[in-house]
């Protein structure tokens, strides 16, 4: 098995995280106008929902003591894939406007390809050629997307 990052008692962590998120949302909701029952304000409903979320977090956290202990293992391949794909999405976001659709797609394909544990050059080349053409036909010609295919700076 590949050893990655581990979290002991994931349900306790999860419960605490949900309570944290709920508390944050409740604090924000309380800063809006709560109103009262015959005139419900903007904060009323989110406050209830936040309280419910915190209660669920509490239940999950408590149940974690009664059930068997499990350990959450973050697989190395998963971290690699997540990182590569986040980078690919970021690359797309940074290049679509200054460079245009085709360069952005090619860059996204190449960066995301490193998310797989096997990087096959032939496949990357194939996708990097076919996909820009396909997207150009569907989105720019077919759906009238107002983005230049190529562009040099703005």
């Amino acid at each position: 098995m590949d050893q990655g990052f581990q979290i002991k008692r994931p349900d306790l962590v999860l419960g605490l995280a949900l309570i944290g998120i709920g508390a944050g949302a409740a604090a924000l909701s309380a800063s809006y106008d709560i109103g009262h029952l015959n005139d419900v304000g903007a904060g009323f409903f989110p406050l209830i929902v936040s309280a419910c979320l915190m209660f669920c977090g509490l239940l999950i956290g408590l149940f974690s003591f009664t059930s068997e202990q499990t350990t959450l293992v973050l697989p190395k391949n998963g971290v690699r894939a997540l990182f590569a794909i986040l980078c690919a999405i970021f690359a797309f976001a940074m290049t679509i406007e200054p460079l245009g659709l085709v360069p952005a797609i090619i860059l996204t394909v190449v960066v995301s390809a490193f998310g797989s544990h096997e990087v096959v050059g032939k496949h990357i080349l194939l996708v990097a050629i076919v996909l820009p053409i396909l997207c150009y036909l569907t989105f720019i010609l077919g759906l009238d997307m107002r983005v230049p295919a190529f562009q040099l700076g703005r």
Partner: protein, 494 residues
Amino acid sequence: MFSDFQLGLQVALSWDGLLMCALGVTLGTFIGVLPGVGVLATIAMLLPVTFGMEPAIGLIMLAGVFYGAAYGGSTASILLNLPGTANTAVTCLDGFPLNQQGRGSMALFVTAIASFIGSMSGAIILAVLSHPLAELARGFGSQEYFALLLLGIVAASSFSTVGLVRAIAMTFLGILIGLIGVDINTGTERFTFGSQFLYDGMPLVALAIGLFGIPEVIKNLADKSTPENIQPHLSYRAMLPSFAEWKRALPAMGRGAGVGSVLGVLPGAGSLIASFVSYAIERNISKTPEAFGKGAIEGISSPEAANNAAIQTAFVPTLTLGVPGDSTMAIVLAALLVHGINPGPEFASQHPDIFWGLIVSFLIGNFLLLIINIPLIGIWVRLLSIPYTVLFPSIVVFSCVGVYSVRYEIIDVLFIGGFAALGYALRLFRLEAAPLLLGFVLGPMLEEHFRRTLLLSRGDLGAFVEQPISIALYLASAGMVLWVARNALKKRYR
């Protein structure tokens, strides 16, 4: 009513209607066949494409993907023992053994027929049932709608595989995300952190693609097993079941279609549950229950009919009540809302072109699927050998381009990244993203009915339990929670 049907014929038989129906079912079969490309992710990726179309045409295409995928999903289940879509998972149990016995092509043929029968009965029930249900719902006020939405949420969470509390927690998180943006009643900005990009709320497409599409890719990349691929020999003679097999398969298809139609209408149940329930029923009533799991023809006929029937009848509550039963229907509802159409009791009479156009397109689409899935099955079988290293960069690119094309905002693309990380974290912590999406879509509706009930009753909380229908709906929700709690306790103390 007949003139409405004629209007539907006009829409569905128009050039655009036919083209988009064909495109939808073909695409659906395509992604259904490919394991690791989910229906929800695909529908989310297609949403931006449909925004530019007529609402009826867009809906016809989205729906086509949905039921087309249920046809295609069984192909991967039978040939790879790997469900192409979640709701064809049961088909693996008897479909894969049949393939190992060299009867894979027969199994593919039978599941196509079963899907067709299930789909057709579901579509007919949708047409028949929508009118009386809409009549019933016409008298609904905000109290009833609040109770109904709550029941939908509780039911969807009760059937969740990760447990009721975990699913409900995700629903609440989804509701909170759904409340981001300007509150339409008071003009207060909620949870926007001062960002103008969140003024209109979190964009649905980025949320859905980020939570479903990308984490699926990451998960597939993380577990790197390549399944065994037994290619069946595809001759028409090998496809046909024997007379004795027909006699066992056909009644099973009928029962599956019945079970699926009923479960599809109920909020929260849906096609996945329908396929499991119908399989359990078949095994229980069979004279040879020991044959199940070893290639029983009833074991593929009934669930395939059931999941397809449920997919069609799931449109009943979505279109006639405006209350979606699961996350996929929530996306369909959201797509209609984007076009400014509010599904509800008046939907079929106000938008007969959409409603009847959709139903007629179901009939056409299912005939197309029969053609796509029986004579052309060879093409789809070959598709299974597409390497994932080609597929997944394409999914990433389509996600980015699709989300960007909605409103040309860079931040929306970045949101995909954020939700992808969240979605992957949810998977690691054994949580589901589907209830989150359901909460996201239903949250604002829930709040609106909550407020309106209190406004009309001048702050009297008793108004929530005034109407017999709301009381019945709350009791149903409470019953479900108790039932789940009882099962959980029984499991723990055995």
